[in-house]
């Protein structure tokens, strides 16, 4: 396993939120722990994040059965108030797939996720291009690096209107794009992941937590989650 925390360094606490219908929470916890964090699952009705939380992950799945719109109902859960407050104070928040959908519905990330252009559920490895390496979510990547990470979603077609997209491109908030010709869902401008304007909230459709162990093929997901663990550890050090 690449990127283990050096022995003796304090481990950052990175909880993973669970909603009814979340299904990637256990993989996320396992991946974060393998990469050197202390992780545990927290229930969506909790009103506070665990003491000492250094980053939060909103996992993939189908919260509330994807009823109405993906993420539309989960955004009203009590834990989201705590996540919003955490993000507002500069805390690191990562949303994966359904977690990304929840963050856009909550207004913490720009854009919206719509049904795939093909109307089919897609489940496969996709090549991605990392735009920047100077963020808490991509520090272990090189600028322009290609990562192979699986997607599995029915509603991954990211949308923003022209004005919004222009603004995001200008501010370099599109961190992750599907490689040319590999867009699996019809997302505008091949967007696979976007960063908020403050640089502390990131959402992506691909599943880095499914790509941290060589047994499952790619370990490129560790580049994203490992970056988060590094940044969380740094924020821990800064707080002491």
């Amino acid at each position: 396993m690449n990127g283990r925390a050096p022995a003796g360094e304090p481990k950052p606490v990175i909880p993973v939120v669970v909603w009814p219908g979340s299904n990637d929470d256990r993989d996320a916890v396992l991946a974060l722990e393998q990469l050197g964090a202390v992780s545990r699952r927290v229930w969506h009705t909790d009103e506070e994040l665990p003491r000492g939380t250094a980053a939060v992950v909103l996992p993939g799945g189908f919260s509330y059965g994807d009823y109405l719109r993906c993420g539309a109902i989960a955004r009203f859960s009590p834990i989201l108030r705590a996540v919003e407050a955490f993000a507002a104070s500069g805390g690191l928040v990562l949303g994966i797939c359904n977690g990304f959908q929840i963050l856009t519905e909550a207004g913490l990330l720009p854009g919206a996720l719509r049904p795939n252009e093909s109307l089919s559920f897609v489940c496969r490895d996709v090549p991605l291009r990392v735009a920047r390496s100077d963020t808490p979510f991509t520090s272990r990547c090189a600028e322009g690096q290609e990562l192979t990470i699986p997607v599995k979603h029915g509603d991954g077609c990211w949308f923003a209107n022209e004005a919004m997209l222009e603004e995001l491109e200008e501010a370099e908030q599109v961190l992750l794009r599907y490689a040319a010709g590999a867009n699996p869902n019809g997302a505008v401008a091949d967007v696979a992941g976007v960063l908020n304007s403050d640089g502390n909230v990131f959402g992506l459709m691909p599943h880095p937590e499914h790509a941290v162990d060589p047994l499952l093929g790619s370990t490129d997901g560790a580049a994203i989650l490992g970056s988060l663990v590094d940044a969380a550890r740094l924020s821990l050090a800064a707080r002491v």
Binding site: L68, A72, I73, P115, S118, L119, F159, A160, N161, G186
Partner: protein, 76 residues
């Protein structure tokens, strides 16, 4: 409350419906698929009902970036 994908938003469901209708021999233009939400509101006051339904649309039933809505009131 009638929720629709805004003009210009890709609507693959609408496209699938459109192509099926054409297959059946209907000479149709663009088809768009939205969502109908029926709600009983416990007030006799028309303006109050309308205000409540509008808030429901704004807060939960639509995502303003991609959807628009229309409200129709019916007295029961």
């Amino acid at each position: 409350m009638l929720v629709r994908p805004k003009p210009g938003i890709l609507d693959p469901q609408g496209q699938a419906v459109e192509s099926s209708l054409r297959h059946l021999g209907f000479d149709v233009g663009e088809a768009r698929v939205g969502r109908l939400v029926d709600v009983d509101v416990a007030t006799e006051d028309r303006d109050e009902a309308l205000a409540q339904l509008e808030r429901m649309c704004e807060q939960l039933l639509t995502n303003p970036l991609i959807e628009s809505y229309e409200i129709a009131l019916e007295h029961v």
